[in-house]
């Protein structure tokens, strides 16, 4: 300790030493633990390095982005990541170590690589999603039936948020005149208190869940909002486990947060949520109106059907009755015709009997008498032939008698030269009848001879 130097001198030595030792700029990875903008537009940060498994901070340093760079870098970063630079973000920045005699060591940030942050955020987000998925709760809130009439709404927002008043105005001024019952449960929606605020709010609502149809989480409009607060595991988990459907309206143009993902529905803006609710109620009402008009038209159809049925019956009744009457009439007239025909036919048939009998009588009588006549004529014929035969027999008999007589007549015998010899009138047929000298008479055809027997010869003598 020989030389005494002033603090300024020392600080300058440190500055020069550091400058000499670290002439280059370095790309470093760190997490923002604090961020402040001052009125001049400069941005003051505290960067730390933390191991996920450790509680304590391993390294810490102050950093500055001069307003000249900050205007450009902020826009560039937000544009690229959709996030504003804030506490808790991991960033990759180009820095140069500077040492200021008044403020000490700080890193001057001259450039920032948003892709690193995007990667980090995405990785973190993926881990959360994966965890929720592994726990099987990812879509639990989505599975809750959305109320047909979302009229009783628990709102998680902050009173002063522009989004909240937009939401309320949109709801109340709905052109349909629907009534919505809203209850605001306040919570911080950005920054580190977001997690606890939302979880507390959800817990309070859950205690009175029977009073509400759903929960709406809305945040003030504008694109500046930090979505990454809603990639928080605990918020997302609470949402998945919530007994009522949760609708988010935390608004982001590009990405959706994990909370948006697990919510029953997610819309870009509070106004959109309000419109959605109005639409839901409206579609519920329209549904009723549709049903009622369907009931009306169906009733008319039923009515007309029944009316037609009755009218058809009324129209059919009398023609049918008349047709039946005319059938019966036809049947009756055919019966009449049949009775007449059959009656007449019967008489004709009956009439045939006596006329046949008449014919038979005439022919029978005629053949009878002609038969008798034939028999008579035959008898007459028989009489004639019989009689003629009889007479012929007698005629023949008489002729035979005449012939016999002629043969026997002695006169005829004598004529032929025979003679009859007799004695004392008795005809001599045998010589024994006479004796010698008997005087015999011989009768000739003409004249008679008397002679004396001289000699007598015997038979064969």
């Amino acid at each position: 300790m020989t030389e005494k130097i002033s603090l300024t001198e020392l600080q300058l030595i440190i500055r020069d030493s550091l400058y000499l030792a670290l002439p280059d700029a370095y790309w470093i990875m760190a997490e923002i633990s604090e961020l402040k903008e001052n009125n001049a537009g400069h941005c003051y940060l505290e960067l730390i390095e933390k191991h996920p498994e450790e509680k304590n901070v391993r390294a810490r340093v102050k950093a500055i982005i001069w307003s000249k760079s900050y205007r450009f870098l902020k826009a560039f970063f937000e544009n690229a990541t959709g996030e504003s630079l804030r506490e808790g973000l991991k960033i990759l920045v180009r820095t140069k170590v500077e040492y200021h005699k008044l403020y000490g060591l700080s890193l001057i940030i001259s450039d920032i690589d948003p892709t690193f942050t995007i990667g980090e955020m995405a990785m973190k987000r993926q881990l959360v999603i994966k965890k929720l998925e592994q726990e099987g709760v990812l879509s639990m809130n989505k599975e809750i039936m959305f109320p047909a009439v979302p009229q009783r709404i628990a709102i998680i927002s902050s009173k002063n948020a522009a989004g909240y008043s937009d939401f309320i105005n949109q709801l109340k001024s709905n052109s349909f005149g629907y009534v919505f019952y809203t209850a605001l449960i306040e919570s911080s929606l950005q920054g580190i208190e977001t997690e606890l605020g939302i979880i507390n709010a959800l817990d309070r609502i859950a205690l009175n869940s029977h009073l509400f149809d759903l929960v709406v989480i809305i945040r003030g409009g504008g694109s500046q909002s930090d979505l990454s607060w809603f990639d928080n595991y605990n918020i997302a988990y609470h949402v998945t486990q919530f007994p009522l459907p949760v609708i988010t309206g935390i608004g982001h143009d590009k990405d959706v947060s994990v909370t948006d993902m697990v919510a029953n529905r997610s819309l870009k803006t509070p106004t959109a949520v309000a419109d959605f609710l109005i639409d839901s109620v409206n579609s519920a009402e329209n549904h009723i109106i549709e049903i009622s008009s369907e009931i009306i038209s169906t009733s008319r159809i039923i009515f007309e059907k029944n009316k037609n049925r009755i009218e058809a019956s009324a129209i059919k009744l009398f023609p049918l009755a008349r047709i039946m009457m005319s059938h019966v009439k036809d049947k009756l007239s055919s019966e009449i015709i049949e009775v007449i025909n059959i009656g007449k036919e019967f008489i004709i048939r009956a009439g045939l009997i006596p006329s046949n009998q008449k014919l038979r009588l005439a022919s029978g009588a005629k053949s009878f008498s002609s038969g008798k006549e034939v028999a008579l004529r035959r008898n007459g014929q028989r009489l004639i032939t019989g009689t003629v035969n009889c007479l012929n027999v007698y005629d023949v008999m008489l002729k035979n008698l005449v012939n016999t007589l002629q043969l026997l007549n002695p006169e005829n015998v004598l004529q032929r030269g025979f003679s009859i010899t007799s004695i004392n009138g008795r005809i001599i047929k045998n010589s024994d009848q006479i004796r010698k000298d008997d005087q015999i008479d011989t009768q000739l055809f003409e004249g008679t001879l008397r002679s004396r027997v001289i000699e007598k010869t015997g038979k064969g003598g």
């Binding site: 004639i384 009689t387 007698y394 008489l398 008698l401 005449v402 026997l408 007549n409």
Partner: protein, 65 residues
């Protein structure tokens, strides 16, 4: 002989009797010619009878046919 009492059958019997007598030759020569005469007469009577009967019948038949 009264015509009314003439019997054809009796006449025929008598004729046949006469003819038998003649045939037998037992007859006396005097009676022979008498008998022949008698038979001849009877035959004539019979023929007459027959003819008259015939005529009668014919007239009946003429009426009948």
């Amino acid at each position: 002989m009264a015509k009314k009492e003439f019997s054809f059958n009796n006449a025929v019997l008598e004729i046949e009797n006469i003819l038998q007598n003649i045939e037998s030759g037992d007859l006396d020569i005097d009676k022979l010619s008498v008998e022949v005469k008698r038979a001849s007469e009877l035959i004539k009577e019979c023929q007459k009878k027959l003819r008259s009967t015939e005529e009668e019948i014919n007239s009946i038949f003429k009426d009948l046919v």
